[in-house]
Symmetry: C2
Subunit: 382 residues, 2 copies
């Protein structure tokens, strides 16, 4: 273990690093969630969420992890035995499958290899063939780094309800909830929204609420939560201090502008990939500008990626993310969503380079950081 | 509205005031929930929770409001159509009823007037007659200030599963989870545990888990959450910063000793009641040492209690809690759980006295605070 004095570096795709002013907001004196002091913060946070979502609809805010908000969609939109479709290309696609199965649904899983990007036309055909009226998918599956074309999927699936998990992508890559006609978008506080974990969201337009089924949940009941939010109340005591933090974080993001955030994430992804390739390592996530959330990398021959991560953490205080499920030990992941800049990418690359060398791997040394800076500087065209 | 510079006083029974060092812990740099830095905090928090619960069993920790943990008990222990009993003597008893109905249970509600204390023998007889195998109740119903005799209820109900909501009472009044044989105890971070809201808990012994039904929830699945906690993991990204705060708060409570906390709460309740009576106001909550969580007070003739609360808040920066449901406008409540001392009670009483005078109520002036201090000093015998 590194000593308490040594610096820690958090380069994971959730929780992500949280700016000091966002953390400080969590430490402000406690206020009552039904008092005037909090209502101002709450109203502003809910309004800012709509701006980040690019929606005119309500964004319901839950005190929960993102999975809770995912479950809310299944528990409010479906009834037992109903046929639904899930587009799965990673660990979180399988989470949709698990939640749907828990709710007794007839799940038609449209599965891709982990790391593959779903083809919208194929998805559209599969959904039509399945007869499903609701489709669950990910915009970003954090387990692989794939950012899928949810706009294309929306166009291809036709007149069904589309529920998109954008937990790790909202605020990092473009998502036009209203303009693209996405019915429900799920997100969480601890990814590109650069806030502490503990808050989850679901955008729920009136047209979707109108087709909701009798809710099979109490805590995540959309109608009850919306009814409270409509009068700036919360159905259940919310995480007041986390909402204070989220308010500050959303303000920082919106002041800088969402377009700037999207461009920065493209550049950060480029920098990470360029550096990794310069070391002679192989990318697991796609090598294109879309992969702006997390960069997944195959461990080099003879190195277990979990061993690399333990070395990085215990010897250098650097935390990266491991491979999940069958990718455990095989890949590792550098997150770059939210409060990240190119110096973070440089540090992550330098730490990987140093650690792999210390572990005896044969890699190209001394070029990754320079390549990363070059890639970061190259212009982004919209 | 008071100006930003004027001091705010939070005298509500949840969220409760949070000590500065507990708030500051929430603002520490973000760490990964699966890293070594967090695992130490997590292990200590889970262990401290067991100490506060006085149980050897696992206390499952959820990122949610207390209602989420209440729902977890219903969703894991019951199947649709099953007969259950609910002891209801306030707003939160009705919440048990609502959750159980949402899950399609055959609910036998054993109802008392709000403000009345359930009689254990009566409850025992009603449960036996109902044929229910599971009983849900409150130790403290925050809506009325009644702290019920859950030890007596445990003895009276016989061989059924007893689920106790101790959200506002755990850490304030004695609750011996193991010694009294309470099967499941629900609690939350934002009451006597003097932490920010956003964490909820349920103690789940192996014997109870063995009789769990197929879970009708994904996020609150006891087995999945326990499986993760068993290896110091969390099933879903937990509220890292809130757990840091809870860890510090539990440390403060346990260092001082639970017995000291129980005695302090008795004294605080005495002080509040003595002051209220000295003003000539009428108590709504029972006038005994058991009512150590919150003091509920009838608004005097001609005064709407919501008007009093608005005056207290807008003119003096003092937040008290309103009456709920049919008690709205009729009662108001002074919370005294967690980080409260006698000077808080004195401030609350002085503010009520001042505000009622300003609103033209006929009350006894100038004696409440002195009576409160006297009552606080009188010895507590175990």
């Amino acid at each position: 273990m590194v000593s308490d004095l040594e610096k820690r570096y958090l380069f994971t795709p959730g929780p992500t690093p949280v700016p000091p002013e966002v953390l400080a907001a969590s430490a402000e004196p406690m206020v009552h969630h039904r008092g005037a002091d909090f209502r101002d913060i709450y109203a502003r946070t809910l309004s800012r969420l709509k701006d980040v979502y690019r929606t005119e609809s309500d964004v319901l805010l839950f005190t929960a992890s993102g999975t809770g908000a995912m479950e809310s969609a299944v528990a409010n939109l479906t009834e037992a035995g109903e046929r639904v479709a899930v587009v799965s290309h990673g660990s979180f696609g399988e989470r949709w499958v698990s939640i749907c199965e828990r709710y007794g649904l007839d799940v038609h899983a449209i599965r891709y290899e982990w790391g593959e990007s779903p083809d919208p036309d194929e998805v559209g055909a599969a959904v039509r063939e399945s007869g499903a009226g609701i489709v669950f998918c990910q915009q970003s599956d954090t387990s692989t780094g794939v950012v899928s074309d949810v706009r294309g999927i929306r166009e291809a699936v036709g007149d069904v309800t589309l529920v998109v998990d954008a937990i790790s992508s909202l605020g990092a890559v473009p998502l036009e909830t209203d303009a693209w006609g996405i019915d429900v978008v799920i997100s969480g506080s601890q990814k590109a929204l650069m806030s502490p974990p503990g808050l989850a969201m679901a955008s729920v337009p009136e047209r979707v609420l109108a087709q909701a089924k009798p809710p099979r949940t109490f805590y995540f009941d959309w109608r009850a939560n919306k009814k409270a939010q409509d009068v700036l109340d919360a159905a259940f005591t919310p995480a007041v201090s986390l909402i204070r933090s989220l308010d500050v974080a959303l303000g920082l993001i919106l002041d800088d502008g969402l377009e700037a955030a999207f461009e920065r994430h493209v550049r950060l992804g480029r920098a990470a990939r360029a550096g990794i390739k310069a070391m002679g390592l192989e990318l697991f996530s796609p090598d294109n500008d879309g992969a702006a959330v997390v960069t997944a990398i195959r461990a080099p021959e003879g190195i277990d990626s979990d061993q690399l991560l333990a070395h990085l953490r215990d010897k250098h205080g650097v935390t990266l993310a491991p491979g999940q499920a069958h990718l455990k030990g095989k890949i590792f992941r550098i997150g770059h969503i939210g409060w990240f800049d190119v110096f973070d990418i440089a540090s992550a690359l330098a730490a990987v380079e140093l650690s792999l060398t210390e572990l005896g791997a044969e890699i190209e040394r001394g070029v990754a950081v320079a390549r990363a800076f070059e890639a970061f500087e190259s212009p982004v065209t919209a």
